[in-house]
Amino acid sequence: MRATVLVRPKAGILDPQGEAVESSLRQLGFPVGEARGEIERMCERLLANPLIESYEIEVAE
C-alpha cells in the first residue's frame, strides 16, 4: 500500500515557513494563487530542487 498524508497547520496557526515562502514567491513576481502554469514555474524556481525532488500539483477546486 502507498498512501500520501498531508499534514497542515490549522487556520489561524502561525506558519512562519509558509509566510517566508509566500513572501519569496511575491518577491520573484509571482502573483500567489494563479494559474497552473505559474504554479509549475514556482515549483521549478523555488518550491522544489529538481536535482533531488519531484513535485505533483493538485488543484483543489
Binding site: Q17, A20, S24, N49, L51, I52
Partner: protein
C-alpha cells in the same frame, strides 16, 4: 608588500550566525573584512566574498533556498560570473548550491542527527585560490556543525572539482564520495561544510582552518594588485 590589505565582504543574512567569526578570522589573517547586509543590491568594491554559516531564513523550505533570492545574492552571482572569488561556508555552501553557483545540493545528514565535531579533512587540490597554502594530501582538522551536510553530487560532477574530502572513515554526514568541499568549473567559487573560521588558533583546538582562509586572503591580495 604585506601592508596591502585586500577587502573581503562577508554577507549577513537574517539567521546568519558565523558572520562575525568569519570577519574576525579574515581580519586576523590580514584582510579588511566588511559585513554586508543581504538587502544591499550592490557589493562594496571588494576582492572576495564570503557567505558565512548559520541558518539563513530559518532554513525554511530547503537550506539556502530562500537566501539565494536576496538582493545581495544577485550581486554575488554577477561578481562570481565576472571571475570574483567566492567562498561559502556551511550555510553559505548550501546557498551557493541552491543558487546554481556550485553543483549539487546538501541534504539532511544520513544519521538524521545534527553533527558537531572536529573532523579530519584531506586536501585534494592545492592549485585553487582557497587551498594554495596547503600541502597536497594534507589532512586538516576543522570542525563541522550542521544538520544538512550530506552532499549529493550531480552525476556528471568532475573529480577535479572535489577540493576537500573527509578522511577515510571520518565522513560525518553521509556525503557522497566523502565530499567536504567542491569548487566550480572555473575555479573561483568554493563551498565547504567544515568551518575554517572556527579553527584559526590552536587555542580553539586547531589552527588548520587558517590555511584555507589565508589562501583566500592571498588570492584576494593578488586580485587587488591586478586591479591596481
Amino acid at each position: 608588500m604585506s601592508e596591502v590589505v585586500p577587502r573581503i565582504a562577508v554577507l549577513v543574512f537574517p539567521g546568519s550566525n558565523d558572520d562575525r567569526d568569519a570577519a574576525w578570522a579574515l581580519a586576523a589573517l590580514g584582510a579588511d573584512a566588511r559585513l554586508v547586509w543581504h538587502a544591499e543590491e550592490e557589493l562594496p568594491e571588494v576582492d572576495a566574498v564570503v557567505l558565512p554559516g548559520g541558518f539563513s531564513y530559518g532554513d525554511y523550505l530547503r537550506c539556502g533556498a530562500i537566501a539565494r533570492f536576496s538582493p545581495a545574492m544577485q550581486a554575488v552571482t554577477a561578481f562570481a560570473a565576472d571571475g570574483g572569488l567566492v567562498l561559502g561556508i556551511c550555510n553559505g555552501f548550501q546557498i551557493l548550491c541552491e543558487a546554481g553557483l556550485l553543483p549539487g545540493v546538501l541534504r539532511p545528514n544520513a544519521s538524521l542527527e545534527f553533527v558537531c565535531a572536529d573532523v579530519p579533512v584531506r586536501v585534494e587540490r592545492t592549485d585553487t585560490p582557497f587551498t594554495s597554502r596547503c600541502e597536497p594530501g594534507q589532512e586538516l582538522v576543522i570542525p563541522v556543525k550542521h544538520g544538512e551536510g550530506c552532499y549529493h553530487a550531480p552525476a556528471d560532477l568532475d573529480d577535479e572539482q572535489i577540493v576537500l574530502r573527509y578522511a577515510r572513515g571520518a565522513n560525518p554526514n553521509g556525503s557522497e564520495r566523502d565530499i567536504a568541499g567542491v569548487v566550480n568549473a572555473d575555479g573561483n567559487v568554493l563551498g565547504l561544510m567544515p568551518h575554517p573560521e572556527h579553527a584559526v588558533d590552536p587555542l580553539l583546538g586547531s589552527g588548520d582552518g587558517a590555511l584555507v582562509l589565508a589562501s583566500l586572503v592571498d588570492a584576494a591580495r593578488e586580485r587587488l594588485y591586478a586591479r591596481a
